[in-house]
Structure formats: structure tokens, C-alpha cells
Symmetry: C2
Subunit: 247 residues, 2 copies
């Protein structure tokens, strides 16, 4: 899919032009980073959804120096995180700020947000919930989202390091695309899968405990760095690829 078609189809969903542009940038970045389940195919997926209100505007419902709460207000999660992101860059915290986003789904490739925060000079940590897909490695019902965790750290030289890891061995997008069976969507880690399961449960509960309006949400931590550890790590790593680097 090219940009013209993508933007046209997003506009046809009723999205205002800047939001359509932001979503296209997101989906296209996901394609380029080898995460097609967050890529162009999401446009077809959105065309089949009816749970969002095109043009709805997320609301900043609490705004303290170290804390913000947003509410999606019917908007797509992508749009809510875009608004929260823009606000952090325009008005960065003095030290740190926790940003809780109620009713924020879907959120896509979390590194797409944390990367821009790090490029803007902020340390960022972000997680988000989605329908439960992961059960205990020993079996039983699905108890947690794939619970992605993204961490991005700025660098005075070269790219930030951008971690973006889901706790599943495959993605839900792979299942939808027929590339993996639903039985393969288990916590990653093989004999240590209890670790990824624990992380998924912890991140799920972290979000679930902090949202005020029940439903899928996101929790973002932004902080001003006091040090610049990435250049030394890159020097030590040499030719080793660090998380988020182009493949």
C-alpha cells in the first residue's frame, strides 16, 4: 500500500487529516521495522471496527506537575497516545511524570511513541493492555495481554536505544494473518516462559490498577535524563546491534 491509498482510506474513516497522517506514519514505520502486524494491514482492520468515533478528541482530565491522566473519549488509542506524546514534548516534566491513559486502544507499536520522546530528549517507558491472549505456561485461560513494554533512552550521539518487547512468543497479528497458530501465542521463553508470563501479568495489572475507567489503557513514564549512557554502551557493543537499531 502506498501513502496516497493509505491516507485516502484513513480519511474515509472520518479521521481528521493530521490524525490520518500520524496513523499512516505509524503503520509505515511498523512495516519498515519488520512489524507488519502493526503496519499497513491495520487500515483494513480499522475499516472493520466500529468501537471508535472518528474525530473524537481525547481529554486531559488531570494535570499535575508529576502526573497526568488522559481519557480516550471514544478516539482511537493511537490518537490518544499521539496527544499525550505531543503534550510531553511541548511541556516536559521538571523531573518525571506518570501519564495514565484511560480507554486507550489500540496503541500499536509502542516504540513508535517512546522513540520520539527519546529523540526529544526524554527517557520513556510505556506499556499498554489489549484483549487477554496469554495464559500460564502450564495451561488454563488467557490471563494477560501480550503486554508490550517499551523503554527508550536518548543519546547525545546517534540514535536512541529503543526497546519494544511483547511477552508473547508470536504476535496476535501473526495469528490473524495465519502465520502462526493460536496455540503458539504463549509467553515467550520456553523453559523460562514463567518469567515472560509473570512480566505480562505484572504489566497488565499495573495498567488495570491505574486506570479509572475500566478497559484497555496505557501507562507512560517520562523523565528528564541526568546522564547520557548510550554512547558508552554503543562503544562497548561495537558492531552488536542494540535494541531498536535498524536491522
Amino acid at each position: 500500500m502506498d501513502a496516497d491509498e493509505g491516507l485516502r482510506r484513513l480519511a474515509a474513516l472520518g479521521l481528521p487529516e493530521p490524525d490520518a497522517q500520524a496513523l499512516w506514519s505509524h503503520f509505515d514505520a511498523a512495516e519498515q521495522r519488520g512489524k507488519p502486524s502493526h503496519g499497513h494491514a491495520r487500515i483494513l482492520w480499522l475499516e472493520q471496527q466500529d468501537g471508535f468515533v472518528a474525530g473524537a478528541e481525547p481529554v486531559l482530565v488531570e494535570d499535575e506537575s508529576g502526573f497526568q491522566r488522559w481519557h480516550g473519549n471514544g478516539a482511537l488509542g493511537y490518537v490518544t497516545l499521539e496527544r499525550a506524546l505531543a503534550r510531553q514534548l511541548a511541556d516536559p516534566p521538571r523531573d518525571a511524570r506518570l501519564v495514565v491513559c484511560d480507554r486507550t486502544f489500540p496503541t500499536g507499536m509502542l516504540g513508535h511513541y517512546t522513540r520520539r520522546l527519546a529523540e526529544g530528549g526524554l527517557v520513556a517507558l510505556l506499556t499498554a493492555t489489549s484483549p487477554p491472549r496469554l495464559g500460564h505456561p502450564a495451561g488454563g485461560p488467557s490471563l494477560a495481554s501480550t503486554s508490550p513494554l517499551s523503554i527508550a533512552v536518548p543519546s547525545s550521539a546517534g540514535d536512541p536505544v529503543v526497546v519494544d518487547v511483547s511477552m508473547g512468543a508470536v504476535t496476535w497479528g501473526d495469528v490473524v494473518a495465519g502465520l502462526a497458530g493460536e496455540d503458539e501465542l504463549v509467553p515467550f521463553g520456553g523453559e523460562h516462559a514463567h518469567k515472560a508470563f509473570a512480566l505480562a501479568v505484572g504489566l497488565q495489572l499495573l495498567v488495570d490498577a491505574l486506570v479509572r475507567d475500566p478497559g484497555h489503557g496505557a501507562v507512560l513514564l517520562v523523565a528528564r535524563p541526568q546522564a547520557d549512557p548510550v554512547p558508552a554502551l554503543r562503544e562497548l557493543a561495537g558492531s552488536i546491534r542494540l535494541p531498536g537499531d535498524a536491522g
Copy 2:
């Protein structure tokens, strides 16, 4: 080792009685939770260290409503986290607070801190750095700590859920005890070990970017919950053991 011997040996290191008691409780809890590398053996280990000042008092160097910075000031990391923990329980944040602890090492079993914060009604997320032990799954130098991540969420009924996961396939304590070879201390996950490696690097850089005085440190997030998701998760899980539950 029994409590009498443990407390006597900790006191002989010059630790004030309340700190000796806190460390004994920590090591004994680790034994009981099947984490002996953070347990009684640490007393022998401490007897061989000379990098700490018994009786040194950690300092709260910055104190905003949503942010605190502590400095270990020569104290053991255990003591610094005990002070930071006590302060959060005595003066919980209105919404959320990021607590950065400079020069805070060793910190032990992170769930020992987050569990008590959750028992005190706070959501907690904690990570800490230690000497680099994990390299890229494809090889090369050690680039990150085992980078434990602990998340604890309170519950109105029954125990909190307490996640405490390190990114290594084995622990450094296992290596020291001869239970595992140093070559086995790699990111967990087998074919997905790049995920645990990425998490380790991200958590390492998060701490390294937020400390002001270079060295090992800890980053703690505490927040007031707005919801109580644990009872419903326990009901859904039935007999499945959730993270942090007694084995």
C-alpha cells in the same frame, strides 16, 4: 543459619540493630521464597565486602511531590531501599512518584520491597542495576545487568500479586555457588532470548540515565491505585499460581 547467628553476624559488621533486623528479614524471606542467592549466603558475602560504611545513612537529596532522589551515601543498597520504602509508606504520593536511588547496591530480591509497598496499598515498579553479566544472545561482551524488574499490585482480598523477574537464564548467585557455569548466565528465552536481552538493556539504561552519581542504582515507581484488579484475576485463574504466590 538461624536468626540468632544471622543477627549476630550482621551486627558484627557494624550495622545498627534495626538495619541488621531488616537485612535478616530480607535474607530469610529470600530463603523461604526459593531464592537462596539472595538469602543467608549474603551474610558471608557481606563479610567479604569493603565497599560500604556500616552505619552510613542514605540521604534524601531531592523531594518533590512526584519525584524523589536518594543517595546511598556509602550505605548498603538494602538500607537505602529500606529508607526509601519507609518514606513512601509514611508519605504516599498524591497520584504517583518516581524515586531514583543513586549509589544503591546491592539491593537483593526486589519483590521484598515492592510486596510491602503493595501490602501498604501502593502499586510499585522497581528495577536496579548491578555489574554487567548479560551479553547479546549472539555473543560478545557483557552489556547489561541481569536487570530484575519487580511489579507489585495490591489486592482488597488476599495477597498482592508480586512479579520479580531477572532477565538471566540463571542467577549470578547460582554461578557463585557453582550450581551453574558462567556461560549459562545469558538472557533467558532460548530462541527468543533477544527479547530478554532487550529488556535487560532497556532497564539498565533507564537507571543509568536517571542516576546523577554514576554507579549502580535503583529506580522505583509508586502510585496510588484507582482500581482493584487482582481479585477478579485470581478468580479467573482458579488454582493457577500467580506471580509471587507461595509455591
